[in-house]
Amino acid sequence: MARIGVFVCHCGSNIAATVDVRAVAEAASRFPGVVHSVEYRYMCSDPGQKMIAETIREKDLTGVVVAACSPRMHEPTFRRLAEKTELNPFLVEMANIREHCSWVHDDRGEATAKAIETVRMLVEKVRRNSPLEQIRVPVTRRALVVGGGIAGIQAALDLVNAGVETILIERSPSIGGKMAMLDETFPTLDCSQCILTPKMVELSQHPLARLYTYAELDGVEGYVGNFKVKVRQKARSVDHDKCTGCGLCIEKCPSRVPSEFERGLADRKSIYVPFPQAVPDKPVLDRETCIWFTQGKCGACREICPVEAIDYEDADEISEHEVGAIVVATGYDIIGRSLYGEYGYGKLVDVLDGLQFERMCSASGPTSGRIVRPSDGEVPKTVVFIQCVGSRDDSKGRPYCSKICCMYTAKHSMLYKHKVEDGKAYVFYIDVRAGGKGYEEFVNRAVDEDRVVYLRGRVSRIYERDGTLFVKGADTLSGHQIEIRADLVVLASAVTAAEGARELGQKLRIISDRYGFFTEAHPKLRPVETNTAGVFLAGACQAPRDIPDSVSQASAAASKVLGLLSADELVREPLVARVNEDLCTGCFACEAVCPYGAAERVKREDPRTGAEIEKAYMNPGVCEGCGACLPVCRPGAVDLMGFSENQIYSEINVLTESFKVEDEAK
């Protein structure tokens, strides 16, 4: 038997000034199932709450409706109150007679009638509420970080320093990411490798960190707190336990290919260490270019290795791990030089992209830090830097701003001027975006101290004649077309998501936008979470981002992970979907529409034939309670706790009954 208590709040005069609260309480006292109905000035106040608690006890209530403000405001308040009584918190509902009623209607009669109907609706709903218990899901206290750039490294460091065992996977042979490629970083011009390498070493030496380099994420199963991941360690062909890092194999290797790290400005061998400070600093063998693997000849490295570490029989190895949370830090790439025919489709040798110029500046780079023209090795006396190449471009490129280019272009121009004091540096810009701490001052240094010339306008064409690059552009502030004869041009190409990011995202069931950047759960309030519980984002994989912000975000992601892993059990709201297997036809439309992958296929025995059939099961650890599975379930096998079929039906039924009453009254 239902014993519902209705508590109508005045909310001072917020409700009572427009709605006749006494009439509402009076009408409610006559609703079927209601055994107690009162009004009070402030239900959410201490005495108000106490009154409700006492009434629950005295009248042995089976449900409570608080007619007051929006449930989005105080439903948690009154449910928490119920937790302290015998009444299950999910047997408490709120009727919104303030935001949706007293605050938006003038006519007392209309507002009161609407309030009465709304209370009636919620009384009918709560009569069909089920007592629900919060769902507890066990949590594995281990984390996975995908991507070994600065964001991944920072997140992993925060986690291992907090005592959480962390696995870090990086697909290239070394951790370090793009930051390892940089020379000096803005806005301080301190050496990138110098600040990065200590972190790389700290991580690799930490007892709780397990690094898998030259490895990829093969597969992910499970759900928040209980992921099962497969890591594919690609065959290195070098036994890192035996290898001493002597480098003889690299010396002897006859096969040269363009180096990814040097962005094509220099070569590497097929057996290689990507850069001197690599972690681990032992080589891997690139089978796709190795003469032994492609032609069956050579084998020089194996012969020369003094400790017999080279193993051509090495194979990919897959290991499985259980983790409770995953941080995605797959970083970025830049689109390179070939997008624009106006800039030579990448064929003009002396037109470089930002990362190539960065390598050229680096003391351990292809030119040992000398800025030279790739064509003839001469020192360029005039260098043109072009911003926004492929960014802020609706037609051919990306509409978004790549965020870091204004800053690194200023940096590049300064680095150039520091190395070639009598050189001329020009920067073509549309805007200069220098919003970070010390950023504006940094750009001004380029202009004031290093006398870099900033030209506001776009470059319409670059062509080459007799070894000189002709750069035609506009200077909109002076209103002139200009042509600069340059020795070297650097394009600040648009930042994009790393290659393969989207496919990785699909494995993790996280969304990426049309440019491959991962989508956060909420752009302002939840920037490091994704739509999949337990998977977090750090760094430029989410959007173009500089080093300070990447590091901040990485720590933010780590703190979310630590929160998740801080208890042995994850407590979730029980407002989830439930399948009545008797009605389920095994069509799995639910599986198709669920954005969280909460639908699972469970094997059952068909009672009449004994055959093995499949039914749907909604995992309460994953289900977020949206109810998208209900409209597609034709027999109505799946129901949603808290907004169930019966509850919603009863709300419709009651409302429209009162329509009938109005009809008859006429």
Binding site: V104, V593, F643
Partner: protein, 155 residues
């Protein structure tokens, strides 16, 4: 129809449109009182059976409120809803019920004004269409064939 007060049922999604309606309240944006709101977690939760039942039980108009495309708190519920409701409207129209009686609106938590305007717009629109009589008339309808049969039986 001087005395006709339209009866409108609105299914509003918790994260956007219900919150938008709350905002209309918080900003005291007055609007007509003919709409009754049922809270759902997502517009994707709203099944055609709910819309049909509301009409059958006497609603003259039904509104479903959801998040703007791309903003759904549950990722894709509103996209599924959009496809489903387009189809339902076509069906209602085919069966002789004005499809405008079933309104869908994308109303974010920041659009209190929009909710108030939507309420007024839909109430005015349904008022103009008059009461939905289809279901009631169905309840009273007896086909000409049956009338013939009855006539013969009575004789």
């Amino acid at each position: 129809m001087a005395d006709f007060r339209p009866r409108i049922v609105a299914f509003l999604c918790n994260w956007c449109s219900y919150a938008g309606a709350d905002l209309a309240g918080t900003t005291r944006k007055k609007h007509r009182a003919d709409v009754r709101i049922i809270r759902v977690p997502c517009s994707g939760r709203v099944a055609p059976a709910m819309i049909v039942k509301a009409f059958e039980k006497g609603a003259d108009g039904v509104v479903v409120g959801g998040c703007h495309p791309g903003d759904c708190h549950y990722v894709s519920g509103n996209y599924h809803a959009r496809r489903r409701f387009y189809t339902l409207r076509k069906l209602l129209d085919f069966m002789g019920i004005e499809e405008e009686r079933f309104q869908v609106t994308w109303c974010s938590a920041a659009e209190g004004d929009k909710w108030a305007e939507t309420v007024n717009r839909v109430c005015d629109l349904v008022e103009g269409l008059g009461p939905l009589t289809t279901f009631r008339e169905m309840g009273e309808a007896v086909s000409s064939e049956m009338r013939e049969i009855k006539k013969v039986a009575d004789e």
